[in-house]
């Protein structure tokens, strides 16, 4: 018999490199294509986190002077059966999903230094048997909920102060037979911002008690907030403390520290209570507006350490065991997350110009704009060789 030996050297020649890379990529995906099964009750803290993160996000993207914010995110696992769902009868194949939309618009009030703004944030999340774009299939064992936040914001651009009022509505979409203990709730919240201090609180109307109180000290100087763009003030930390009215979690502290050029950051979060969940992220942003970035993370959970990774490529996000994705999307380690994700914040600069930047950035994006100056002296059109001269003359 003749055995034909696969000639690898010809297969790997430069013109085939892309294909080879593709094969390796697919093998890589296939090898790690079994993420495991998620217990639906483990999804509940995610709902709480995302409701709280709406408020925390407002304090990042709405500052006196910022005038628009758009955020669109959609996360799915690309392979069916990658993350199964634990049910009493076994592990069902399906997809965990998260769709997120955030819109903020703010406009100056005429003849005053005040801006008035509207805010809407939406989260739809859970697990279902099929992936979808708009309408979830709502399987018998599906879990899901949506969170709507809406509010009115008023800011004083002269004194760098702002205040906001709004409400958050958490709605469950699941079959009550297989459902969990999460209840539909309405929250109202209020927030106040002055210079570098941020204070907010939300009230739970379902249980008639405080849901959380947050205090942020955004000490880091940011050029976008008319603060110094360099110097020691840019190396001050951003700190965020939240008190939660929950049994398993009461104190939460987030710190963000600029390490280099407001591009390399160290982020850390710690819970003071029984969850024993701490993490640190080293985040490098390729551009100064934080539209491209790579994260390396170390997570300490249940007395175990594990590392994670994430890449944010303006429109796409890939992450693996990344704590921020785990707390906002799926609380599972050793799982890949893929998603379409885009966020953009804008601010007026002067009368006609506008600054573009990502969420939480300190400086605007350097856009390749070119100012076209009109020539001071306009000559006779007939002297111009192109328009009025011989070259531009119509053939007779």
């Amino acid at each position: 018999m003749n055995f034909k030996i696969l000639n690898l050297s010809s297969f790997c020649k430069p013109s085939n490199q892309g294909f080879v890379f593709f094969i390796f990529w697919m093998l890589f995906i296939a090898k790690s294509s079994f993420g495991g099964a998620v217990d639906p009750d483990n999804l509940l803290p995610v709902a709480v986190h995302n409701r709280e993160s709406h408020l925390r996000e407002v304090s990042e993207v709405f500052y006196p002077g910022y005038n628009a914010y758009l955020k669109v995110e959609s996360f799915y696992e690309p392979i069916p059966g990658y993350v199964n769902m634990k049910t009493p009868y076994g592990e069902l194949k399906g997809y965990p999903y998260r769709q997120h939309l955030g819109i903020m618009l703010s406009n100056p009030i005429e003849k005053s230094d005040y801006d008035i703004g509207l805010l809407y944030m939406y989260d739809r999340q859970g697990w279902d048997s099929e992936d979808f774009i708009l309408v979830p299939p709502k399987h018998r064992f599906a879990r899901g909920w949506s969170i709507h936040s809406a509010g009115v914001l008023l800011s004083d651009t002269l004194n760098k102060a702002s205040a906001g009022l709004g409400g958050t509505w958490l709605i469950n979409h699941y079959n009550p037979v297989h459902g969990s203990k999460q209840v539909d709730s309405l929250f109202s919240w209020g927030r106040f911002y002055w210079k570098r201090t941020d204070l907010y609180a939300s009230w739970n109307h379902h249980s008639n008690q405080w849901a959380q109180v947050g205090l942020g000290l955004k000490l880091q100087a940011r050029q976008l907030r008319d603060e110094p763009s360099s110097g020691w003030q840019t190396f001050l930390p951003d700190m965020h403390y939240v008190w939660h009215n929950r049994e398993d979690l009461q104190h939460e502290l987030r710190v963000q520290q600029n390490l280099y050029d407001q591009r390399l950051y160290l982020k850390a979060r710690t819970f003071g209570d029984s969850l024993q969940n701490h993490y640190g992220i080293l985040s490098w942003n390729f551009d100064q507006a934080h539209l491209f970035g790579i994260d390396l993370s170390l997570n300490h959970q249940k007395k175990e350490y594990f590392a994670g990774f994430s890449a944010h490529l303006t429109f796409f996000t890939v992450s693996y065991s990344h704590p921020e994705a785990m707390e906002a999307y799926l609380p599972m380690r050793g799982v890949w997350f893929f998603g379409v994700s885009f966020n953009l914040n804008t601010r007026h600069r002067g009368k006609d110009d506008m600054d573009f930047f990502g969420r939480g950035a300190a400086r605007p994006a350097e856009l390749a704009t070119e100012k076209i100056n009109s020539p001071k002296k306009v000559g006779n059109v007939d002297d111009d060789p192109i328009v009025g001269g011989e070259m531009g003359a119509a053939p007779k």
Partner: protein, 129 residues
């Protein structure tokens, strides 16, 4: 280098775009048929709760005679299920009695599946045809 970059971008785009469209090409429900290769009647076939085996979700709600096969039944349960089967006419002593056997977990996946029931070494077993 350019080829690698383009391929990388294409891979990403493929991965991201397929993620909300796979339900057009992949099946998410299970259509299942039971073939009885044993000498006893079999049925129904059910998925059971590990903590409480009396909590059952029936996949094939009929009794299949020896050597026969059931109709195809559709179920919205798919994936890795804890399967059990009932033998309604098992000889015990002088009479026939109804007994249920828990056969452990089996990855049924999704789509059309044919399961064969047989008795191997005196133990009931299910296998894919």
């Amino acid at each position: 280098m350019r080829i690698i970059t383009i391929t990388l971008v294409l891979c990403f785009v493929t991965l991201f775009l397929q993620a909300c469209l796979t339900h057009y090409v992949l099946e998410s429900d299970l259509r299942i048929q039971l073939v009885n290769n044993s000498e006893y009647s079999v049925g129904p076939l059910f998925a059971y709760n590990l903590k409480d085996p009396t909590d059952q979700d029936i996949l094939i709600p009929v009794i299949v005679a020896p050597g026969q096969k059931s109709l195809v039944f559709s179920s919205d349960l798919n994936g890795i299920l804890n399967l059990g089967v009932a033998l309604p006419e098992l000889p015990c002593g002088d009479t026939l009695c109804y007994r249920e056997f828990l056969l452990g977990t089996k990855d049924l996946g999704s789509g059309s599946k044919v399961l064969e029931f047989e008795i191997l070494n005196g133990k009931p077993a299910l296998r894919f045809k």
